[in-house]
């Protein structure tokens, strides 16, 4: 059995423009977003590494600068302490002289210079404050300075009440230890880190291991919060440059770069908001997003244009297809009427030829010398009778044709399939006689009536019977038309003992324009129209065939017509008649 396909009339396939736009846009945008995200991630990583390493390098350089500034100042004091005899160091005037030279040399980094005896009394002093004979015996820095040979203090206010720090070195005279000390101008020292700036919001400052600021930070800093507290409490290694990300006191993401100073006693910290440090990265991200938005909009627009275009084409193609299907069925109907008409016209030729002969015979008789002889009159009477007989025969033939041609009406009514079979066999009787084909019927006497269009059923059966007759090439073939009930359906079978249909053609026989008949003898529409009509009736048509044995077409028709079929406004009727 071959499931058949044909010119079915269906509604336009659903094509969602919106869905197509989404799919097309996704197809364009998704790869863009993925590759953009990957690129951006890689770029971000590389850029962060770059920023981090730049910060490390900068902080390292500055830590060296600060360290060398302090070491240089200490060296200066050491030179003064070692080079000059203690007697001269005891003279404030000499110290003033040395201080002036150093101030000139180092642009005022040194504030004052003094010599402190082992009991903490400043025995000589040069500087802006009145600190001659000041007592440092209780000052923490003095105790430190007495213990280690060289000493650099933290920043403190001290006796003068302004922030400063002290560099001090010991000078031993016999058993007695003197301390030569210089005060370093806080402003000069502060300037070293104050000038350290990158971007708009970066700033540097120094604090000591106790958590006291050694320079004043430009913005607010809380040393009791991470990461500083972690550093001070030893949770972060302090012997090397560390770059960390975290939140600042105002909870803004920031980068902290910390380097040890003064052998780890102080820390130089550079703090910068992440947004500032990564400003360039943000610009790139913004640019990428703008590009993505533009491309996405373009993709959506393109998707819309393409989809709409596609939808229009599909709709148009479907419309054309439906039109074609209508035309195919109409053409097929005309073709079968034409075929039938040709056959019937030929059939009429025989009675007409007889009538012409009889008329001629009457003329012949009337032309005789004694036209009114008894035998002539009898002959004329017989001829006239023959003319009437043949005229009736013509009338019968034309009636059959007209009854078929007139019945192009798809209106559904109650039909007995057996009556249709009888009619169609009557129509094809001449054809079967000349083709030497015997038509047999096996009609079920208790066949239920069905709801269908008689004219369409006739068309289906005529096509099937004509095909069956054509399939028989040898004289003595048999075409059997059978009907039988089968549940809710009635079955119509047309069997022939013809040449059969090759397997290769079996799947295509219901296709429009498929024919194996010579050019000009078949339209290739008959079976596709049968298929279309049967489908429309809610039935189905199948074919079985065996080469050299014959073919059986089986039509299953429902007893009740499907809803929406066979009203006056049926599809075929609209386009066709």
């Amino acid at each position: 059995m071959t499931p058949a396909k044909g010119a079915d009339q269906e509604t336009a396939p659903r094509f969602s423009v919106r869905l197509a736009v989404v799919v097309l846009a996704l197809m364009i945008i998704a790869p863009l977003v993925i590759s953009g995200a990957v690129n951006l991630y890689q770029f971000r990583k590389a850029y962060k590494n770059k920023v981090s390493s730049e910060l490390s390098v900068m902080i390292e350089r500055h830590s060296l600068t600060v360290d060398s500034f302090i070491d240089d100042r200490l060296s200066d004091i050491r030179v003064i302490a070692r080079e000059h005899p203690i007697e001269r160091l005891r003279q404030p005037n000499f110290l003033r002289l040395v201080l002036n030279v150093m101030r000139e040399e180092y642009h005022g980094a040194f504030v004052d210079l003094g010599l402190v005896s082992s009991d903490g009394i400043q025995v000589a002093y040069a500087g802006p404050f009145n600190l001659q004979m000041a007592d440092y015996s209780a000052a923490p820095w003095f105790h430190e300075a007495m213990i280690s040979e060289n000493f650099i203090s933290d920043v403190f206010a001290g006796l003068r009440g302004s922030p400063h720090f002290i560099v001090a070195t010991q000078r031993k005279v016999g058993d007695e230890i003197f301390v030569v000390k210089a005060t370093i101008d806080f402003e000069a020292f502060n300037a070293l880190v104050e000038n350290l700036r990158i971007g708009n919001a970066g700033f540097a400052f120094i604090f000591n291991r106790e958590g006291d600021f050694q320079t004043s930070p430009r913005f607010e800093v809380a040393l009791n919060r991470p990461p500083y507290v972690d550093l001070l409490e030893g949770r972060i290694r302090s012997d090397r440059i560390t770059v960390l990300e975290g939140e600042d006191v105002l909870r803004r993401r920031s980068i902290f770069t910390i380097a040890p100073l003064k052998q780890g006693q102080w820390f130089l910290c550079y703090q910068q908001e992440t947004s500032d440090a990564f400003a360039a990265l943000r610009h790139v991200q913004e640019f990428a997003i703008v590009v993505l938005i533009i491309v996405s909009l373009a993709a959506i627009f393109m998707g819309y244009v393409i989809s709409r275009n596609l939808a229009q084409r599909i709709a148009l193609a479907h419309h054309d297809r439906n039109m074609m299907a209508h035309q195919v069925i109409e053409t097929g109907r005309l073709a079968s009427i034409g075929e039938l008409a040709a056959g019937i016209a030929h059939e009429i030729n025989n009675p007409v030829a007889i009538m012409v002969q009889e008329a001629g015979w009457i003329e012949d008789l009337l032309g005789e010398d004694e036209p009114a002889s008894d035998s002539n009159l009898e002959e004329i009477g017989r001829a006239v009778g023959q003319i009437r007989t043949q005229g009736d025969r013509c009338k019968e033939i034309t009636y059959k044709l007209l009854s078929f041609a007139r019945k192009t009406d798809p209106t559904v009514r109650e039909v007995n399939l057996n009556d249709i079979v009888d009619e169609v066999i009557g129509l094809t009787s001449q054809k079967t006689r000349y083709a030497n084909v015997l038509i047999e019927t096996e009609l079920s006497p208790d066949l239920p009536t069905i709801q269908a269009s008689p004219s369409e059923l006739q068309q289906v059966l005529l096509n099937l019977v004509n095909n069956a007759i054509d399939a028989i090439e040898r004289p003595g073939g048999v075409v059997t038309v059978a009907t039988r009930p089968a549940g809710d359906e009635v079955v119509l079978e047309v069997r022939d003992t013809g040449k059969g249909i090759p397997e290769a053609n079996l799947a295509r026989i219901f296709d429009p324009f498929f024919t194996t008949k010579p050019v000009g003898q078949g339209t290739g529409l008959g079976l596709s129209i049968c298929y279309g009509i049967v489908e429309k009736m809610g039935g189905r048509i199948t074919v079985e065939s065996e080469i050299e044995k014959g073919t059986t077409f089986t039509v299953f028709l429902p007893r009740e017509a499907p809803a929406g079929v066979g009203n006056a406004e049926s599809d075929l009727e609209e386009e066709g008649s």
């Binding site: 016209a345 030929h346 030729n349 007409v352 030829a353 000349y434 030497n436």
Partner: protein, 146 residues
């Protein structure tokens, strides 16, 4: 007028009967057959010289006109055949002429036209026969050595 001898072959009995009467009235010797088989049988029974022309319908049940023509031309080559056809079988009639039919006529046909073709075909057949007789006479005289 040459007295032609004609065999009408057609399955339409009333047609054949009336045509026979009309041709007989015009001095034609007429016989009828109602199928290809019957025609061949009659020709074989009567011999080739008895019939000059066969008027042969193309469409007949059983053996059709073209097949009958082929066999006639094989078995009785001297006999001329005029094909008689309805419109739909003109192609068959032309095919018949290719296979040796003398001419064809469309149904329904005028008797005058039929007579014309019948006479022409008879002439042709007689001419053919006389040529054969002449050739045979020449052959005999050649053998005698005249």
């Amino acid at each position: 007028m040459i007295e032609a001898s004609v065999l009408i072959v057609d399955d339409e009995v009333p047609f054949v009967e009336t045509l026979m009467k009309r041709l007989a009235k015009r001095g034609v010797r007429v016989d009828a057959a109602y199928s290809g088989h019957e025609a061949l049988e009659k020709l074989t029974a009567s011999g080739p010289t008895k019939t000059d022309v066969v008027i042969l319908d193309v469409k007949m049940p059983g053996m059709d006109g073209l097949e009958a023509l082929a066999r006639m031309k094989t078995e009785h080559p001297l006999i001329e055949v005029i094909m008689l056809t309805g419109h739909a079988t003109v192609e068959s009639a032309i095919e018949g002429m290719k296979r040796g039919a003398y001419d064809y006529l469309m149904k329904p046909c005028e008797l005058d036209l039929l007579m014309e073709k019948l006479n022409a075909a008879t002439d042709k057949k007689r001419e053919h026969e006389s040529k054969i007789l002449e050739a045979r006479a020449n052959l005999i005289s050649l053998r005698r050595g005249d």
